[in-house]
């Protein structure tokens, strides 16, 4: 507490300065009187006594100053004086002030905006109590299969729940889409089936009503549902009597028992939760990894410790159930980091780009400040001559630059409130519904602290830079000089170094921004191998209760296909399980190849499984590599056939002899029928995070019908104009069926890469800002350094120099500096772009066109920056330019 007292004392002295001064005077006066009185009483005459007493005491003013220093009053006072002086200088040159504050505000603001995203999406994607203790748990089959493939077998999850010593709780769930409403007016709604302890593990309470009970995990007792706040508002108009009402989901009646709070929608973007009621057979299943699992670590247990426990757990399962569990490793990952594999590199890159923008702004400002310092040489020299030490001058400069940067910080902060809101709302909800934490992007305490730190850091940095720059002022020489003073060699060297650094920064940042933008453009082309234009997609899901067997499913979809094909302008209509750009990985399946037995379960080959109707390849214009595509002859009664993708053919039949071979789906002990490979289809890039084409097995729909399919229609006119006709067709077949996910394939692709596109837009903005800042910076530094040579140019012209040669000389020097900067920057840019290529999907290593384009641009800016002031200097009559000095 002593420091607090000391601070209080100091501030007390600061605010009661006059009283303290008076006391000090009084105290010393009393002392002197005592000293004189003693001497007088000893017989000395009063005048002599006074003289001696004063001598004994020493310099009164000095003592006072030392007392003040003891209170630390003087230091605070000088800082205040410096700040006042700084404010006066700022007011005196409003142009400089506005330019520098805005430049810095731009740099700081860019960082604040990105940090607000990092803060929300990476640091606090979910608003759960003790988020760091929440982990996703899944079973891994030898490789990380991406975040959409992180599942666990129900029986394994049950064992883990019983055996574990590291989790406070473990819960399982999966996603399911439902048709909401009665026949004739069925709307699709995305829900999640969750274990009863789901909300307990996440530590959230309902805003109204109750959570699920364990009893409701039993099939038959499970017809209860909890609504999200959003669904309650949007779909039921915020009905106050909602609790206890029943709604129809897939034709079954569910009673609403609870409504969750406004900010809860895990797993995004579900709108309701129902109990996960597994039949005993489903519960005992170990073959299918069908559930997602979430767990909360016990207090004091780290993720690494839990990981070790899980790996011994999975070894035990491997021993006990070698048939199903061989090669499976139970794995965990903090929930917060679930999306890191996609978001971390993107955001780090964005933050880095924002950092570069700030650095560029700083470099520009440092240049401006140095230029001003040259004008203030005499003032500084005078201060130094009067005894101001280096530290004292540094304090002065830092107070000044802190003023700029704080002002810039305030501007950035004010702007960030608006810009962050704009950032959040300007992006369509469809783009961001899959991004957890997106709605949490706002300026909170963390973001404000970040802004303040950034502003102070920049101020200190600039102040120190200016201090170092002016530290070699020699008062003696400077004060003797008249007028502007010649540019000394050191000064010129510093200035040249600045030009080089500015060019360097500019090129590196421009290349980074350019590459990233180009990478994002390339991402949009990741969807290769098919024609997305003029295709309509509609998801259809049939209720299990009514569509009990393959015949019913088949007949429904055959009617849908016939109805779609009969609409005029529809060229092709087909079905597929997982269309491109769905943002969901395809179901993977194990399979074995006839005549190529594998012994160990972990070595079994796997592939994506797609079920497609005959016209699928024609609808998307997927090429035929070998053999034939499906036809109507591949019916339920026909011979069992499959198509495989080109990647699969080349992986498993490298000699190109895939046709005619037979494969069997499922694990080692599978008894599924053999399927003959009749054709090889071109590779289709499914999702943007999977740039590598995976092996795919296509089964004809008629031979493996599924209730949930996506209908694809290639049309000659605008695809959306067929939506209502299609709705009528489906209603005509079964009025209880809802059409979901209605969209054109092109828009779906745009939505799928939305987060990437947002990044691309931001990157583009940063790139433009960087381009402007670096051009201004390079121009400013170069033109200033040429303008300072007006005197020299005058002399050279007066002595008869050829203007053309002189111009060439000046341009040559500008080019030399720019060239040095570029020479340093190019290898850096190449190295950085290599690193980026390994981090970010879609970015390839350095692009010659980008590199040479920006290099040429910077050279052009440099030439302009040297040419304009040089021309101006040459037009001036030598006599005038000489006398002007």
């Amino acid at each position: 507490m002593r420091w607090l007292k000391s601070v209080l004392n100091r501030t007390h002295f600061l605010f009661h300065k006059d009283a303290v001064e008076k006391e000090l005077d009084e105290e010393l006066r009393v002392h002197l009187e005592n000293a004189i009185a003693e001497r007088v009483s000893n017989g000395m005459n009063p005048a002599e006594a006074r003289r001696e007493a004063l001598l004994e005491l020493g310099g009164v003013e000095q003592i006072k100053e030392e007392c003040r220093e003891a209170h630390g009053v003087s230091r605070i006072e000088t800082v205040l004086a410096d700040l006042r002086f700084g404010l006066r200088t700022l007011r005196k040159s409003p142009g400089f002030t506005i330019v520098s504050v805005l430049t810095l505000a731009l740099g700081i603001g860019a960082n604040t905006a990105i940090f607000s995203m990092v803060n929300a999406l990476l640091l606090h994607p979910y608003n759960f109590r003790n988020l760091d203790a929440l982990v996703r748990v899944w079973e891994n089959r030898g490789m990380d299969e991406g975040f959409d493939a992180r599942y666990i077998a129900p029986a394994d999850a049950e064992d883990l729940r019983a055996a574990n010593g590291v989790f406070e709780g473990l819960t399982t769930y999966n996603m399911q889409s439902f048709g909401l409403g009665a026949e004739g007016d069925v709307q699709p709604i995305l829900g999640s089936r969750v274990s009863a302890n789901f909300f307990d593990v996440l530590a959230v309470n309902p805003a109204a009503g109750r959570l699920f009970s364990v009893v409701e995990e039993q099939p038959g007792a499970d017809q209860v549902a909890i609504l999200s706040y959003g669904a309650w508002q949007r779909r039921f108009g915020g009905d106050a009597q909602m609790l206890g009402k029943t709604i129809s989901l897939n034709g079954r009646a569910y009673t609403i028992v609870g409504i969750m709070p406004k900010d809860f929608d895990y797993p995004v973007p579900v709108e309701l939760w129902v109990p996960l009621a597994l039949t005993p057979a489903e519960k005992a299943d170990r073959t299918q990894l069908s559930l997602s699992a979430l767990a909360r670590l016990k207090p004091g247990v780290s993720a690494a410790q839990a990981g070790a426990v899980l790996s011994s757990f999975s070894r035990r399962l491997e021993r006990e159930y070698p048939k199903t569990n061989a090669g499976r490793a139970t794995t965990l990952l903090q929930l917060r980091k679930e999306l890191y594999m996609f978001t971390l590199p993107l955001f780090l890159l964005l933050q880095a780009a924002a950092g570069f923008v700030l650095l560029l702004a700083c470099a520009n400002l440092a240049n401006l400040a140095f230029a001003r310092m040259i004008g203030r040489q005499r003032e500084i020299a005078l201060r130094a001559a009067l005894g101001a030490g280096r530290a004292r001058l540094g304090q002065l400069f830092i107070s000044e630059t802190l003023l700029y940067s704080s002002a810039a910080g305030v501007v950035a902060m004010l702007a960030s409130f608006a810009s962050v809101r704009a950032l959040r709302t300007s992006i369509p909800a469809g783009w961001t519904k899959w991004v957890p934490g997106w709605d949490g992007i706002r300026v909170d305490g963390n973001v404000l602290a970040f802004t303040i730190l950034a502003a102070l850091g920049v101020g200190l940095f600039l102040g120190l830079a200016v201090m170092l720059h002016t530290s070699r002022v020699e008062p003696n020489k400077t004060l003797k000089e008249t007028g502007m003073g010649a540019v000394t060699r050191t000064k010129r060297r510093v200035r040249n170094a600045l030009v080089v650094a500015q060019v360097m920064f500019a090129l590196i940042l421009l290349v980074c921004a350019g590459l990233t933008i180009q990478g994002f453009v390339r991402l949009a082309n990741v969807y290769q191998g098919f024609e997305p234009a003029s295709v309509l997609r509609i998801e259809i899901s049939l209720p299990q209760k009514l569509y009990t067997d393959n015949v019913k499913i088949n007949s429904f979809y055959q009617q849908v296909l016939r109805g779609a094909a009969s609409l005029s302008g529809v060229q092709h209509a087909s079905l597929v399980t997982n269309p491109p750009a769905s943002n969901v990985d395809s179901e993977t399946t194990l399979f074995s190849i006839e005549g190529q037995p594998v012994v160990k379960a972990s070595e079994e080959p796997s592939a994506d499984l797609q079920i497609a109707s005959a016209d699928y390849f024609a609808t998307l214009k997927i090429s035929t590599i070998a053999g034939r595509m499906f036809s109507d002859a591949d019916s339920a009664a026909g011979p069992r056939v499959v198509l495989i993708s080109s990647a699969m053919a080349s992986r498993f039949w490298p000699k190109g002899d895939a046709l005619g071979h037979r494969i069997r789906l499922g694990g080692l002990d599978s008894t599924a029928p053999w399927l003959t490979v009749v054709g090889v289809a071109g590779d289709v890039r499914q999702n943007w995070w999977n740039p590598i084409a995976r092996p795919v097995i296509y089964q004809p729909f008629a031979q493996a019908p599924q209730r949930s399919m996506t209908l694809l229609m290639r049309t000659s006119a605008n695809p959306t104009s067929y939506v209502s006709a299609m709705r009528d067709v489906v209603r005509g077949i079964d009025p209880g069926i809802a059409l979901r996910g209605v969209n054109t394939l092109e828009d779906e692709i745009a939505d799928a890469i939305a987060i990437v596109r947002i990044m691309g837009i931001l990157m583009g903005v940063f790139g433009l800002v960087a381009l402007a800042l670096s051009s201004i910076g390079v121009y400013g530094v170069l033109s200033e350094s040429v303008a300072q040579r007006t005197h020299e140019i005058g002399i050279r012209l007066a002595l008869g120099a050829n203007p053309r040669d002189l111009l060439r000389l000046i341009l040559g020097e500008a080019l030399k500096l720019t060239g040095i900067g570029l020479l340093i920057a190019v290898p850096c840019a190449v190295a950085i772009s290599r690193a980026m290529a390994s981090l970010i999907f879609g970015v390839v290593t350095v692009d010659f066109a980008i590199l040479s384009g920006f290099t040429a641009l910077l050279i052009a800016v440099a030439l302009g920056a040297a040419y304009v002031p040089a021309r101006r200097a040459m037009r001036v009559d030598p006599v005038i330019s000489l006398r002007y000095e």
Partner: protein
């Protein structure tokens, strides 16, 4: 700036604290008492006395109050605070250890 003082660095603080430990005292009297008690051996540099007093006050070891002096003049009286007393004790122990150690070295070495 040179401060000619015969006192070992830091001992002025100790002497001041000890002097005012008996009763609240003003600056002039502190200097006088130190001189008298030490038999005119220790001469407190009066230029260093007041800054030292203000420093000690800032550190919270002493407090000051205005009062009447013996010859009916207003004077600033300094007295020890609680933490000042503790500080004096520990400093005094330190000093005794130090001077004993120096004495030992001088005697034997």
């Amino acid at each position: 700036m040179s401060k000619p003082t015969d006192l070992v660095q830091g001992t002025l603080d100790l002497l001041i604290l000890k002097t005012i430990a008996l009763e609240p005292t003003h600056g002039w009297a502190i200097a006088q008492r130190i001189r008298r008690v030490s038999g005119d051996v220790l001469q407190v540099n009066q230029g260093a006395l007041y800054p030292a007093l203000h420093r000690l006050e800032l550190q919270g070891w002493i407090t000051a109050e205005w009062g009447e002096s013996e010859n009916n003049r207003r004077a600033r009286y300094y007295s020890l605070t609680k933490s000042g007393k503790k500080y004096l004790q520990s400093e005094r122990a330190n000093w005794e250890r130090l001077s004993a150690a120096i004495g030992l070295v001088l005697k034997t070495a």
